[in-house]
Structures are given as structure tokens and as C-alpha cells.
Symmetry: C2
Subunit: 256 residues, 2 copies
Amino acid sequence: MILVGYSILKKVVVGCEIPKPISGTLSGHAAGEPFDKYVYHEIKKQFPTETFRQYEYLNDLYAKNPTIIGFKARQELFDSPTVMFLLSRGKDATIKWSEENPFDEKQNDTADIVVVKNGFYEIVDVKTRNISKSAQPPNIISAYKLAQLCAKMIDNQEFNNFTISYFELDWKLENDKLVCKNAYFGNLFKAKPDELYINWAAAMQIQIHICDLDQTFNGTKAMWAKSYLKHFVIQARKRANDMITKFVIPFEKYIQ
Amino acid sequence: MILVGYSILKKVVVGCEIPKPISGTLSGHAAGEPFDKYVYHEIKKQFPTETFRQYEYLNDLYAKNPTIIGFKARQELFDSPTVMFLLSRGKDATIKWSEENPFDEKQNDTADIVVVKNGFYEIVDVKTRNISKSAQPPNIISAYKLAQLCAKMIDNQEFNNFTISYFELDWKLENDKLVCKNAYFGNLFKAKPDELYINWAAAMQIQIHICDLDQTFNGTKAMWAKSYLKHFVIQARKRANDMITKFVIPFEKYIQ
């Protein structure tokens, strides 16, 4: 299941213009941020009361349950171990949470946007891309976190209460405006798991431009999880071997 | 040998104030950059004609030798394979270089500043630190690059024609100004090599605050190089084993 109407979103977004940020530099995240906000507001039009920033969702959930305190009890509010794993914050932060001390945006949160409807969670990650520059593919998700997620899905037999979607927005600077030239969407669980590239040296991130994300996987989510875990284990073994070949063997002659 | 007078530099720098950058955000590199420039100009006062940005040094070297073209010939201008390895750019970029198409600053250059005197190279890396925030230690140098460097030092028996120094400048926002509160310096080859922390998942970077950098190593540079290579090989083996323990074994039960 996918909640968000990405085709509609794409139609609205492509062609839109935003003023160039004053800060000047058009590098990194900062430049794309206004587009990220734009996408959020457009999804909110589709799901006015069901669309959240990840930290907003947590603030909302804990504020609605003021008598539930402590780490474990707050974690159980998710009534899904898998979704809890994806969205909750660490132990310390969760214990310290209060209405006076709510969560703020955090860079390594899993989701930019969460749409929650009838107990189903769609996690949306927005990737903005300056197409005037060639840049390495963005971080999609930690390969290790995804392996842990797949293990949890299997442990808890939870396959149908959440999904993870990506929306790529390509922009360009034209006449002092940032103009959205194209957009793409993809669902993680429709991508062939054994083709996902893991960059072990870059915090073990899976990296790919969403426009290049394969969408031909036809099996169930249970099949996907098992297939991904197979891929992850093979790749981890390969990386461990490659480390010996590249970082140990060439230097051994110097240390005898 | 160390060229730069860091004690003098520290005296000049501590207490200095710069206006808060207009861009607003005080996160990341951007905020500290004016201090980096300040340090550069102060070192230039000590060595007016011998202080360069890394790209400036390359531009200068190639411009002074207009008849030397091609990758290999330009590399040989360094007359030190070790320094060449540290400072030169890639093959394509080096071939394409011309006075009309000079090098510009590059984020993953080894050096912020190079001081070159009588064939001796001091590479200086400036780390600016906002002490109002707790942040993870900065990247010092790629552990792999350093291993390759040590191997080259041994291969070429080049131990005394270069060094690598670090200068940490601690600052704080006070009354809309950035104020330098303290400064530290350290030399890589005075730090005990087997205590350097390698963050394998973060691009294999050695990470440490310069104020925490041990400076008690008393051996020769040849001893340092061998000792570092030993450390690197042990750590690489350990990481390869840890990968099996952490990323392979826990997930094997799911894929049988």
C-alpha cells in the first residue's frame, strides 16, 4: 500500500519556482530545503490531519498520552515494534521528553515526512538535487538500520503496516530563482534488494538517485526482507574480505 | 623540524574577534572559515613568500614551469614522491591544468596551508571549533591515506622533508561577534601512532580534537611510520572481524 499520490504531487511540483535563498551558497542541503518544505505542504493538502514531520509526530503522540511516561511505555505507544524502531528517538531523549521540552528536527531522523492513516505509516524521504552539478547519489537509508528493520519485520511478522517512499526533486538556478525541472518517486520495497549499493565507508549508507531506483520487484514484503538480508550479509562478508585485501595485505611487508 | 611558530600564532589569535557571518547559521564549516583565513594571514606574516593554500602552491609550481606538461612530468616537479602523494591532484585534473584553467580550492585537499622553505614542506590543517556546541572530533586525515603515506616514506626513505601540523582554534559567539577563546597545536608525528582512533564508517578518518592529541612520541619518523602501519593493519583486521560479528552473524538465521 502507498498512501501519497505521487503522480499528483509531481504535477504540482514540476515547474514551481522559489526565490533564491539569501545565504548565497547553493551547495549542500540548505539550497534544496525550501523545496522540501514545499513538498511537505503539498502532501499535507492530500492528508491535512495525517501528515507530520517525524518530530511532530512524536511530539503529538506523547502529548496525546500525557500519563504515559518512561522509555518503555512511550515506546509501546507505537503498538508496532517495527514502526517504533523506525521512528522513535533514543532512550535518554525519550525519557526527557515533556510538553515543555519537545523534540526538534534531527538530521539523522529516518523520515522527512510521515503520513499516518488507519494505523498505516508511510515514511517519505525527500531528496532535492541541484542538476547543474554532478553529485554523488544521496544517502537513502543506513544499510545496517535496514537490515535490523527487516529482521524486526520477520521477528514480528509485520509486513503490511508501513512503507518507505522517496521523492526526488530536481532543481536548477534560473534568473535568480530555483526552478523545479523534474521529479521522481520510488518505493524502497519495489526496488530489487540485491541491487542496492551499500557504501560501507560512508556510514554504511545505501546510495542511489531516486530516478535510478529500480521498481520491478514483484514479491511480497516478506520476500523482500529475506532477500535484502541475504544481500546485506553477502555484501558485509565481501567488504570484510576486501578490507583484508586492500588495507592489510599491502602493508604487512612493512611491519615484520 | 617544524617551521611555523605556533606559540606566537596562538598569542595573536586568542582573543581576536570577527564579525558574525551574515548567513545566519553557525553550524558546520562556514562559521569557522573567517578564522581559518585569519590563521592563514598570520602564518603568512611569519613566512611571507613561503606560505600557500594547497591549490595556490600547485598553481604556482606549474606556472613557474610552463614547459613541463603532462601528468608524470608535472608530478616529478615535486622531487619527492611522498610530498607529491600528499599534495598533487588526480591525473585528469593535472593534465588539464593551464594558467587559464588553474586549480581552485577542493574540499578533500590534504592541507589547508602549506609552508615551503628550503625544500621542506610543512602541511598545516586548521580546525575551527564552536565550543558552545558539543560536536564529534574532526577528521584529521584518512587512515588509509596515512598508511599509504607511511609506506611511501619507507619505500623512498624520505623522513625529513615534510611534516603535518594541526592548529585548533576554539571560538564562541559573544555579543554578535565570534571570539577566539583558545587555541592548540599538535604535530601528527609526535602523537603516539597506536592511540589514533580510526572511524572506519566515517570514510576511515582519524578523528580527534587537537587539544586531545597526544604529543609524547619520542622516536624517529621512520619508527613512527612503521608503528603506524602496525596499528593500521591491526585495526583493519579488527574492523573486518567486527563486521562479521556485527553485520553477518546476527542476520544469518533469517536467510537459511
